[in-house]
Point group: C2
Chain length 376, copies 2
Amino acid sequence: MTFNSFIPPQRTLMGPGPSDVSPRVLNALSRPTVGHLDPTFIGMMDEVKQLLQYVFQTKNTFTIALSAPGSAGMEACFVNLVEAKDKVIVCRNGVFGQRMLENVTRIGATPVVVDCPWGEAVDVAKVEQALIEHPDAKFLAFVHAETSTGALSDAKSLCALAKAHQCLTIVDAVTSLGGVELRVDDWQIDAIYSGSQKCLSCVPGLSPISFSEQAISVINHRETPIQSWFLDQSLVVNYWSGEGKRAYHHTAPVNSLYALHESLVMLHEEGIENSWQRHKQMHEQLAAGLAELGLEFIVPANERLPQLNTVKIPEGVDDAAVRNYLLAHYNLEIGAGLGDLAGKAWRIGLMGYAARNENVALCLAALKDALTRFAK
Amino acid sequence: MTFNSFIPPQRTLMGPGPSDVSPRVLNALSRPTVGHLDPTFIGMMDEVKQLLQYVFQTKNTFTIALSAPGSAGMEACFVNLVEAKDKVIVCRNGVFGQRMLENVTRIGATPVVVDCPWGEAVDVAKVEQALIEHPDAKFLAFVHAETSTGALSDAKSLCALAKAHQCLTIVDAVTSLGGVELRVDDWQIDAIYSGSQKCLSCVPGLSPISFSEQAISVINHRETPIQSWFLDQSLVVNYWSGEGKRAYHHTAPVNSLYALHESLVMLHEEGIENSWQRHKQMHEQLAAGLAELGLEFIVPANERLPQLNTVKIPEGVDDAAVRNYLLAHYNLEIGAGLGDLAGKAWRIGLMGYAARNENVALCLAALKDALTRFAK
């Protein structure tokens, strides 16, 4: 059997992630590998921490990049904070709220599910009701930007409510970080995780996470041990800590962290508010064009994610045929629907480096062509 | 605050890993990111599976690369296979045997520890005794190549013993895979994990794993659910499966998998037996040179890992001063001692792309210089 080097095509990535990666980031990725305890690398990791604090808008000391994808970041938040004895209010308005529930269930904790329609934001009034009905709930968990539907929830109001009811918050910011306003400290978020491959426009495989002082205190006062060794953040912190000697935990993914560092340097150069604004502008351009093509959004206007535009597949149009055509003829990837929206919607991402004029123009032109070809 | 791009120095990596990465692999790493469900990427993943089967010398259908480092691969083996009701014989002759024990304990299973001196292979007779004394043990777990000490254990004999006692085997091949003889099917290994950054000479961050049919059957007949969602291989298999539609589990680390693919293509070009032989030859060259320098091995001659040479730090020589000098003056990294061997030993790696004549020559010349400078 013969195996050859893999030379991937040059795609434009406008699905739900991974998003387009800047050549600067790919270049950083391929720099020579150094040891994970090399002094130069440790200096870079300190900068990654500072830059993550900047993009999360937090002073949390525990702000690191987990050496695994966003779904491991989600699990790290739940398994470190939640014990079997705890009650957790979980908001479910898409696939990732469902995954949060799965995490709570596997821990053996008691979930209280607040169900909201797919394609809409989490209903703040419903959450308030749940908080009132369950004064013994210890955590409120919700997804800021639901990647499966394109809905943006009001994290600020949800966290304020949670705090008013003495609840800690666990927030999924996989798709929101860098793409929409997010202020961990101002909004009093206790545990938050994201992914490298969405609006940070880095390669997939890392999960930025941040824990508040209160979250750290909860971890330090657990009654039961954390089952996972790999995700036990009380061990991981000794490797990422800037104070004193680094303790070996696992071998850090050195090159992926080069890439994350570079993507964060780029975001810092642009300014986080400017990045939010750019995503908003690109979304407005795209939305105007989609309207001209007669495509309708799934999500109500005031609850839409600028970085993830979910539109109904027009009656009679073949979902897979259109996506395959875009890929084959334009090297353009847009996303299929996920879960309840499979076969019913497309997800058009404008994340990070992909939120550019040229991408909007290409996407609209290619979609116009495809819709003409594959209309009934 | 200003942040600049990180330009790492060009090191020669001769520690316990990460090892030197070939320019071919770094080049593959930086190729344009495609979607994790892109048809071209799925084709490449199928090749990664086939190539991993080749390097593991197995026909196991469940042979994949986990999207996280080797320590997550270890945890994946334990949490998928072992339940709280199970008894596990754990061999401990270094840091990673200790970590296996930690995994067993966190699951709540009953460990039987077979302690062997650090710097020696696992004692086969002791293991046989434990198997006789504990006929109810379900698993035997051991480290093939102890990265903390440089000792190679007799995996073939240990697995044969385990099978004779109706035990399944869980084997750590983080440092052994690609560097010494390893035959998963012939030796009847049930669950095995490795790391990308040792003798495969890929960047760190991925963990190749493989489960036998019997291991899969054990997973399918568990009485209790697996706590981890991220490491639940019954879900992961639906993404890596070649049959039918790929089910989304998490976003694969696309670029790291390009690199792993390239490193495996290189290993396939060389031939796995040739790779084992190369490691042996380079080890013999290095060992001869170390003897000339008066450096003594920790591990008895017939139990030494060719790819990880652990030598005693001579009396009166300053450990850190020597390592810092090698790094500063030669850009050469060798490893410090770990655990019981901290401050007492150096670990000199000859892993994968690092197992080359030029590396051996550099290391011996640089060590000679350093030992002269920092001798009493």
